[in-house]
């Protein structure tokens, strides 16, 4: 951008202020944490367990829920049906709900008196205070990111290509797996990453469903509540760094996948 006019300067200053607002607290957090504190926290078994629990549950939740969410996104992109706007509104609802309220709503559903809770208790599973309950809380507040992104991806795939696939003899399932899915892969991956990131950072809904086992956001809150800022800060830094590393890694994987669509040498015998 060439800074030719006062307008460009104003845009630059306002943009810098917004970026500073995002960077400053994170930078402050890292600057105020000594390397010694950081090493101690990294070696803390409790921190390790909570970070691993958060990452693994968030990742598996995104993976499991994608099985249903991706076909739903395809339906929303391809079909018009009565009540479609209501369905779309319901999908977006968790984004606007206060997350503590979402947690309360979910608790009523998965506690022993709730519909899902009763069903789970039949097989001896108590969802409250369980990683499965944490997964449900994470999914409830983050699923819309995956569905909306995947829906936009499917909508961008020309309908003609799906019709061509069927005309060439493919079944609807094969059409979906070989045309719709590969062509909207980037949007689905992006939605998956957003769902994963949103799920692992969730505090409000998770803390109501499961204080224990502690996810990283709950652990940070508990340390802050009981011992103050100085004790909570290293745990926060560790979690932020781990989350950042995972986030960058997933982004790189999805970009790598996208680049793989570039022309390739064909050996003549590969299957699609």
């Amino acid at each position: 951008m060439q800074l030719r006019s006062p307008f460009h300067w104003i845009v630059l200053i306002l943009s810098s202020l917004v970026l500073l607002f995002v960077i400053a607290p994170l930078a402050g957090l890292i600057i105020h944490t000594s390397p010694l504190e950081l090493i101690e926290t990294v070696n803390d078994r409790e921190v390790q367990k909570s970070v691993w629990l958060t990452l693994s549950v968030a990742f598996l939740t995104s993976l499991v829920f994608a099985v249903g969410a991706v076909p739903l996104a395809w339906v929303l992109a391809r079909y018009t049906f009565p009540g479609k706007r209501i369905v779309q509104g319901l999908i977006d609802l968790p984004i606007v709900l206060p997350h503590s309220a979402a947690g309360i709503a979910l608790l009523g559903f998965i506690s022993r008196d709730g519909m899902l809770g009763k069903a789970a208790s039949v097989v001896g599973l108590n969802l409250v205070g369980n990683p499965a309950g944490i997964a449900l809380a994470m999914a409830f507040v983050s699923l819309s990111f995956l569905i909306n992104s995947a829906r936009d991806g499917f909508a961008a795939v020309p309908r003609r290509l799906e019709q061509a696939s069927l005309n060439l003899g493919a079944s609807p399932v094969r059409m979906f797996l070989t045309v719709s899915l590969p062509l909207s892969w980037r949007s689905i991956a992006s939605g998956f990453i957003m769902m994963f990131a949103r799920g692992m950072s969730e505090f409000g809904a998770v803390v109501i469903i499961a204080y224990h086992p502690m996810t990283a956001p709950v652990l940070i809150f508990e340390r802050f509540n009981q011992f103050g800022l100085a004790y909570a800060r290293p745990a926060a830094v560790v979690f932020i760094l781990v989350a950042l590393a995972v986030f960058i890694l997933l982004r790189l994987i999805s970009v790598g996948r996208d680049k793989s669509l570039a022309p390739v040498k064909h050996n003549g015998n590969d299957d699609a």
Partner: protein, 348 residues
């Protein structure tokens, strides 16, 4: 053989009404019509991309009206080719074969044979976005041919091809047809229809107006729409007069033409093919029908010149470079126009 019986399909503001059609096995049938006439929709109904409200689609004796798209054995080549952008040319052609669950070695053999036949072997490892329009069309046709369909449905196949490459594609389509493949080809270009069709149909507003050989349609168009589509520009309203047993029509410039037997009102619509009208600055002695006029406009055209001459009505003439060299027409010049009496055709 493809038969359509009383196909109906209606949308708000548009409908295909009771359309019946028959395309013989091995025939090259061209469906001609303006955009929005319903011709592409008809292809989609045949291929199963759209359902019809009523009527039936019979292919080689089997009623496929209720068949799923993938069970119809109709090979549709889309106007925009619809090649899969994430697959190489090889994988695009292999796609339908993999769908059938063929062995990899058989797929490889079939794809390479087809590529050789279609002269696209060098393109097999490329992706569609690196190909020209003509190359994409060849890949799209190959991908369809490899499925061995009972009929190939071509939706405006020349639309995305540069003019110099159209001859190649026409040759290719003729070759495919010569090998026994039934082809139904949809276009808005009557020249394309003349060059390719064994038989053709003209569609207008969801109706099949006329079917027949290109010669029949272009020499005896059923109505003004078909005639206009066939490139005829000279239509004239004439006053009908009966004198005893003869019926005569009088044009605005006073020329009288004898009309064949028929039920006429007070006026009728006639057409004269552009190629039958000639013009000269000298009085053409011995000509059957002659009228005086003024050259209003002269423009360069594809194969020479076109001139508009006012003589009561406007007469459109096509002049070759050769005839222009002998008798050039100048704007504002007074000329004599002439045409043979049997060139005049009365339209419905």
């Amino acid at each position: 053989m493809l038969e359509l019986h009383n196909i109906r399909k209606s949308y708000p503001g548009f409908e295909i009404m009771d359309l019946s059609l028959r395309v013989e096995k091995g025939e090259y049938f061209v469906l001609l019509g303006r955009s929005g006439s319903g011709k592409s929709m008809l292809l989609e109904i045949i291929a199963g991309l759209r359902s019809c409200d009523s009527g039936s689609v019979i292919l080689n004796g089997t009623d496929i009206t209720k068949f799923k798209i993938q069970e119809r054995k109709t090979g549709l080549v889309f106007q925009d080719f619809a090649l899969f952008p994430h697959l190489t040319v090889y994988d695009n052609i292999a796609y339908p074969l993999r769908t059938k669950g063929m062995k990899k070695s058989d797929i490889d053999e079939k794809v390479k044979d087809m590529a050789w036949e279609m002269n696209i072997t060098s393109l097999l490892e490329r992706r569609p976005d690196t190909l020209s329009g003509g190359e994409r069309q060849r890949v799209a046709v190959s991908r369809t041919l490899v499925t061995s369909p009972d009929i190939i449905l071509l939706d405006e196949p020349m639309a995305s091809i540069d003019t110099p490459l159209r001859d190649d594609l026409r040759r290719l389509l003729r070759d495919i047809n010569r090998k026994g493949m039934t082809i139904m080809h949809v276009t808005h270009d009557f020249r394309e229809a003349i060059r390719l069709a064994h038989r053709m149909g003209v569609m207008h507003n969801g109706h099949l107006v006329q079917t027949g050989s290109p010669d029949e349609i272009f020499s005896r168009p059923r109505n003004r729409f078909v005639a206009r589509f066939a490139g005829v520009q000279n239509f004239f309203n004439i006053a009908v007069e009966r004198k005893g047993d003869t019926i005569r029509g009088k044009m605005k410039n006073g020329i009288e033409i004898e009309l064949p037997e028929g039920n006429y009102g007070d006026d009728a619509l006639i057409m004269i093919p552009n190629s039958e009208i000639s013009a000269s600055g000298n009085f053409p002695a011995g000509s059957e029908i002659v009228a005086e006029g003024v050259v209003r406009e002269v423009n360069r055209a594809e194969n020479g010149y076109e001139a508009y001459i006012e003589s009561g009505d406007i007469f459109y003439l096509n002049l070759s470079h050769e005839s222009w060299a002998v008798t050039p027409l100048l704007r504002g010049e007074r000329v004599w126009i002439t045409f043979p009496g049997d060139a005049v055709r009365v339209l419905q």
